[in-house]
């Protein structure tokens, strides 16, 4: 019987047309708006098993006898029964089911109903995103998706945060997710125009993206118009932003002065020697440099959008303006953008869609700074005149004798203007109900001009002011063509995709640099002393072919399979093309009688996937053996060795298994998603440190294997649901672990030094920190000498060289003899939780995010120095004991000694601190006016709100916030920017 079914299905599938008796009824199934088609609706003749399913455009055709009843059903919509009369066309519109479970989710090349999806995907609607006044959507996703980690950017107002989905399966290669905007890889958009975001986490969903999908995929769908009256929406927020310094605090003038004075005495200097350098009057200068550099800022975002159209043409038009006067002195960010999404049906079969996004961003940042100055130095004299640089050079106490007030006073500027244009055109052709073809072309063009004038030049030469202009132009052109097939028979539905995609990304850059400016004009051509010019070009290309098959039976059993071939210029000549695939299946248990009979679940689905994806985020050309021409001698071009190639270089391969369950109970009051995943990452891209004797110090290779696995739980709870009062809770927990499984060579410790012989020690993000890669270890492991503290007798720097039988440490004053420790730089748990309370029109929403179970390197600890950095400010160490002062004192901190032994500031385990934190990312209070009021005002809807962002981070570490240390927890936090805390007021109205 089973076999027969298949044969019948196949037979029917092959037939060009079918149906031969009875009366043919055709029609459209749409949503309640009467316009939006619903594909995949089950249409069954009541009392029989025969039926059909609506096509991509919502159309259907069925042979039926007069007097029979058609049942239209589709999950997420209320079923509808229609008695067939004599008409030949029956158009049906279905009302959305109040439960609303069945949204259609964009998963990249296609859209699917949630029930159809067999993979770990999370959909976040635009309403849920609006908890952050950010120009970047990543910040808005913080704490809202289990397994998605978002690290706030700290570098500038215009920067973008980093994101990781399910931690990272890479070591050297980037694990940033792939962005897909309106079905096309890459692209730009404004967060205000986002309709929803889908995060694809497992291979079942990402498999179709092949070599770039190992870091997960984030699918963004922008808003589009619906037929009907034109809707106008206006929203605006305005507020202030303040620096949040967390636990970082510097000593004030008198404290710092007294510390140095003591340090001079300890260093054997006389009081008069001290006073000669530090006259007593500087003690009370006490200038607040932190306050000088960072101050309250101002932020506003404004958006107006219009949407509407008719049955042939729909549009969405939006304009945005963001302005932020950042917390850093003279940091100003302006962004304006416009979006037009236009759809037009040329005929029933042919439609065209144009999406355009354009934006201009201007970012000014005149004050650049490297370290904080000591409180004895002041930017202005008693009369309020700025301290000139030649005075500063001879009189400042700070090691870096720079007056940060000077650039703005002298008219320096540093301004970047970035223009982004992102048009895309898509043609859809539906020749029959079971087939459609689409072709898209998208061009993302970015041109960025930096204009910089340093009135004081290089500060240590006398070539006058300097001007630097540079121009970056990036273009990312992608074209694709996709054939979609869709066919169903009875309870079987089969669909498929075949497509090809071509992508060329070019990056061009040049810079010109002139000096000798006196300030009247700061245009390059008036340079008295032309300086250097530089530039480079890079091109990356991808050619891809992909296919996917979806099958479902009775809307109970779902299967998806995908296959992709990717070729890229980034890979070595011997490995240019790769193949990727995935399979996924799910079982809608709640459509089974034996589950339904339990009466427990509103919906219950079990799903699983397995697949192979790749990571191609390596630098261009690293597979080639190259010499750079960026070298010269005596005015002639020279060649300098640049990289040692590797023709075998290829992508990393991630083989990921995922098992998940989606359930909702108690009238959908509680819904839950639980996932388990295990990913084996092999051929890891790694910059293998080579002995520098080779003439090259590293080579990109594919080495070893790293596994990562974890659990993710997302809970949505309608804790209280009454007509007047609602309380919704959303909880996201991601647990992840990783382990290095294989490295080249044998994982043995032949020389018994406590370290596996094939371990790789490499530099972290900078020279500051070593990291280690060893079998059995984590992907991000710090590696440093074990710090003990001050010798209880002498106060000298001591490290631990071993442990006695009683567990007491053996101390050494020689760091070379110290034990080397490892520490884990990735958190065990991370996630967030959201609470929404609604009472009538009033709503209160809180969003928290958290991470714990990791260590972080707090580089601010370098400000807790031992006299090494003589003229740097000292921090007030958070939560640690006092410095060693006299024999018998036990302290991890050595005394501050002028010209002392300067060794305790060296990198060691003392820089490691617990990285746990909990952050109140957003707290907002809003009021929506009820309909009576809005109607009287002539408005559709009106909401006012107040919101606080980044209000508080709870953490135990010193420094600003462990969240700022980056994914590998080794990004510099010294000189870091404080976290911007915002309080904004907003209004959101619809006409």
């Amino acid at each position: 019987m089973k076999n027969l079914n298949w044969k019948v299905l196949l037979f029917l599938f092959m037939l060009p047309c079918f149906g031969y008796a009875q009366q043919a009824i055709t029609g459209m199934v749409t949503e309640s708006d009467g316009v939006s088609p619903i594909p995949g609706v089950n249409i069954v003749i009541k009392g029989t098993t025969s039926g059909t399913i609506s096509g991509m455009d919502g159309s259907y055709s069925i042979n039926v006898n007069e007097g029979e009843t058609l049942v239209f059903s589709f999950v997420g919509f209320v079923s509808k029964e229609v008695l067939v009369g004599q008409e030949s066309t029956i158009n049906v519109s279905l009302e959305t089911d109040a439960i609303g479970l069945e949204e259609v989710i964009a998963v990249g090349y296609s859209s699917k109903k949630k029930t159809e999806i067999s993979s770990a995907v999370v959909n976040v609607s635009s309403e849920k995103l609006q908890t952050s006044t950010s120009h970047d959507v990543a910040t808005m996703l913080q704490g809202k998706v289990a397994g998605l980690q978002v690290m706030s950017d700290q570098q500038s107002v215009g920067g973008s945060p980093q994101m990781r989905i399910r931690g990272s399966g890479s070591i050297s290669a980037s694990s940033s997710p792939l962005w897909v905007v309106d079905g096309i890889i890459g692209g730009s958009f404004d967060p205000q125009d986002v309709a929803d975001i889908t995060v694809l986490k497992d291979a079942g969903a990402t498999g179709l993206y092949g070599s770039r999908a190992a870091g997960g995929v984030i699918v963004v769908t922008t808003k589009r118009g619906k037929a009907g009256d034109t809707k106008v929406r206006i929203s605006s927020t305005t507020g202030i932003v303040k620096p949040n310094w967390g636990n970082l605090e510097f000593m004030d003038g008198p404290e710092f002065y007294d510390l140095i004075r003591r340090g001079f005495a300890l260093g054997g200097k006389t009081e008069s020697e001290f006073l000669a350098l530090f006259p007593s009057e500087v003690r009370n200068v006490n200038y607040d440099w932190m306050g000088f550099m960072y101050d309250q800022g101002f932020v506003t975002t404004n958006n107006i959008s219009l949407s509407g159209g008719n049955e042939k043409t729909t549009f969405y038009l939006s304009g945005n303006y963001n302005h932020e006067d950042g917390i850093l002195r003279s940091d100003v960010y302006d962004r304006g953008s416009a979006t037009l999404n236009l759809s037009h049906k040329l005929s029933d079969k042919l439609s065209i869609q144009l999406n355009t996004f354009s934006s201009f961003v201007k970012n000014q940042n005149t004050t650049s700074f490297t370290v904080f100055n000591v409180p004895f130095d002041t930017p202005y004299d008693e009369d309020g005149n700025v301290r000139p640089q030649d005075w500063v050079r001879n009189n400042y106490y700070t090691q870096e004798r720079i007056n940060f007030a000077l650039p703005e006073e002298l008219g320096s500027y540093n301004e970047r203007g970035t223009l982004t244009l992102n048009p895309s055109l898509k043609l859809d052709y539906n020749p029959t109900e079971w087939m459609s073809v689409s072709a898209s072309t998208r061009i993302n063009y970015m041109s960025s001009v930096l204009e910089r004038y340093d009135a004081d030049g290089a500060q240590s030469t006398d070539i006058g002011g300097e001007v630097r202009n540079n121009l970056t132009r990036n273009s990312d052109i992608l074209t694709n063509a996709i054939l979609r097939l869709y066919k169903s028979y009875g309870e079987h539905a089969l669909s498929g995709i075949i497509g090809g995609e071509f992508n060329e990304i070019t990056h061009k850059y040049f810079e010109a640099h002139g000096a000798g400016y006196s300030g009247e004009s700061t245009i390059l051509d008036v340079a008295a002393v032309p300086q250097s010019v530089s530039g480079n070009n890079r091109t990356t290309t991808y050619n891809s072919f992909f296919s996917q098959v979806d099958y479902n039976y009775q809307s109970k059993y779902f299967f998806t399979g995908s296959y992709r071939v990717d070729g890229s210029s980034r890979f070595g000549a011997n490995n240019r093309y790769g193949q990727f695939w995935s399979v996924a299946g799910s079982w809608m248990l709640s459509n089974e009688d034996f589950i339904n009979d339990l009466g427990l679940f509103n919906s219950l689905k079990l799903r699983s996937s397995y697949g192979l994806t790749g990571n191609a985020s390596l630098d261009d050309y690293v597979h080639l053996n190259t010499f750079t021409l960026d070298a010269s001698y005596m005015g002639e071009n020279a060649l300098s060795a640049l990289s040692i190639g590797n023709p075998d270089l290829t992508w990393e391969v991630a083989r990921t298994f995922n098992l998940g369950v989606d359930a909702s109970v108690l009238d959908n009051r509680i819904s839950m998603t639980l996932d388990y995943y295990y990913s084996k990452n092999s051929d890891l891209l790694f910059r293998v440190p080579l002995p520098a004797e080779f003439g090259y110090s590293e080579q990109w290779r594919n080495i070893g294997r790293l596994d990562n696995w974890g659990y993710e739980l997302a809970l949505d709870i309608a804790a209280v649901k009454t007509p007047d009062f609602n309380w919704n809770v959303n909880l996201q927990i991601g647990y992840s672990q990783d382990e290095v499984k294989e490295l080249p060579g044998e994982a043995i410790d032949a020389d018994e030094d406590g370290l596996l012989d094939n371990s790789i020690v490499y530099l972290g993000s900078d020279l500051f920190s070593n990291k280690i890669l060893q079998v059995g270890g984590n992907r991000s492991m710090f590696y440093a000498a074990e710090w003990y503290g001050a010798d209880p007798q002498t106060g000298g720097a001591r490290w631990v060289s071993g442990y006695n039988n009683d567990g007491s440490p053996v101390l050494t004053d020689n760091r070379e003899e110290a034990l080397w420790l490892t520490a884990k730089g990735m958190p065990d748990f991370m996630g967030g939780f959201t609470n929404v309370f609604e009472y009538k029109g009033l709503s209160l929403e809180t969003v928290f995010s958290y991470a714990f179970g990791d260590f972080t390197i707090i580089r601010d600890n370098a400000y807790d120095n031992d006299g090494q950095y003589l003229f740097r400010p000292e921090m007030v160490v958070y939560g640690q004991e006092d410095r060693w002062e006299k024999p018998g004192d036990v302290s991890s901190r050595t005394p501050w000694v002028y010209q002392g032994d300067l060794r305790s500031s060296q990198y060691s385990s003392k820089y490691w601190e617990n990285g746990n934190y909990l952050k109140l990312a957003s707290l907002s209070l809003g009021y929506s006016f009820n309909k009576n009021v809005t109607q009287r005002l002539g408005l559709g809807a009106l909401k006012v709100f107040a919101r606080g962002e980044n209000l508080k981070v709870w953490h135990k570490s010193s420094g600003i916030s462990p969240e700022l240390t980056g994914f590998d927890a080794d990004a510099p936090t010294r000189n870091s920017r404080p976290l911007p805390s915002k309080v904004v007021f907003g209004i959101d109205l619809t006409l």
């Binding site: 001879n394 043609l427 240590s460 002639e636 060795a641 640049l642």
Partner: protein, 545 residues
Amino acid sequence: MKKINYIYLIILLPLLFSCELEQLPSDSVSSIQAFSSVKGIEQATVGQYDTFKKNIVIRGKRSWQYNMPRVIDMVNLQGDDIYITNSYNDLTSFNQYNPESRLLDGGFNLANWAAHYKNIAVCNKIISDVDGTDAELKALVGENYYLRALWYLSLTRTYGRPYTHGTDYLSVPLRLDPDADVQERATVGEVYAQIISDLEMAAELLPEVTMRTRPSKEAAWALLSRVYTWMTDPTDASTVNYADLAISYADKVINSGKFPLTSTSSYFGSSEIRPKNMPVGTPVNHYFSRAKEESETVFALGVLASDAGIIARGKMFMQTYEGLGFGQYCASEYYRDILASDNNDLRTNFVEPRYQLDENGNVKVDENGNDMIFNHKGYVQYNINKFSYMGGDPFLADIVYQRSAEVYLNRAEAYAKKGLFGDGSAIQKALDDVNTIRTRAHAATYNSISDYSAVYPSNPGNPVADGETPNGADILDVVLTERFLELAWEFNRSVDVFRNKRNMYRNYLGPHLIKGIVNWDNNRIIAPIPLDEMNANPLLEQNPN
């Protein structure tokens, strides 16, 4: 049919845009391209000089600690002619001769190691692949032999003990074959043998001197005279043949007549002592400001005005009166005291104290009547101008690797050692060469060793701790003191002291920890192997601490 056509059209249209996957960088060339033409070989050869102008990229990272103009001074800072006003963890730990302060993971040290080997890899490739019969290629191969010797000599003196301490000490891995696997450290003896053989090849292949910014036959000889001088052990008469070879190679250079010493007024830019009230940083047209054009120069790394942005090395040695530059490396108190022993010695003009001037342009004096000099965090600034004044720029100068004054002093040292070994006539020859140098500097000349002792009673050639009776002077002390005075800050000092088994006097102001005598057998006179390299090559053995 029409339907189908549309479909094909739509599907096929994008195929027209399919991309070329073979992408090549626009600003670099493949190594095959690089070595396939004479021009490419030439560019790769001179690319080695570029290495020492910029920050080097190590393991994908570019750090301020990888700044090569500064790394060059790693060895300079070991000397007693210098002090540093800033406590760079890395640079200063190397010169502290203190076991506790040894720093294995310092960036300067790593950059020094990596940059030398980056260049050696180019030398190896050209030497092994290029089979040159025409003059141009022969000269290029010769240049690479010369450079390989120069780089290995620089490496072995940094990481290996002096040759005279024993040839079995470990030096650095001796990579000659571009395709060889990781190697152990070779011995000092093996490295020196290779240096000599490379220099002999270079002397054969290189043409005679034309421009002094590229090595010549004579540069190879001059370097041989240096190498043999360094190999001669004053306590071991059996090394006399090295002294003879040093003398014969020095003779070849000097007798070629192409490298006469620059005259007094031209060398110092003046025949007078620099007036105190001349603001520091006021340009002087001295030899070092024009080194590439001077016939005294045997070989110098040429610097152009357009390199100002990348190799303003003088910034470290000079802070002008206006406060430009850093002026963090200063002439040590010890050096200045010795120099001041002879009032007429014009070499004092290379030291420019940063005097404070009053409105009338006179040097300010404090209440005790002492001249007031700017200080940098408590360290008085005695600037050094040997790295300044090219084209009047206070921070720019060619980097002189070899000049004939050194060749004279190599010969003097070799004669002095022959004198110690019993050749009485050599003593006068040594004095003659020393007097040649001293005459130019307007310093008193010597008729005998006792003349030297009269000028320098503390005998800086063989110093003792404060309060102890000075050692009696021998002819080698005379030469070493002259090298100290003449070649100050030119990468020689610490090598000169320790290879001759003399101790170094470091009891003067500065952030160094050991203030006193550093014995020549101290383990810390050589740098540790960079930790990162130990990690990358398990065959490397660390220097004892």
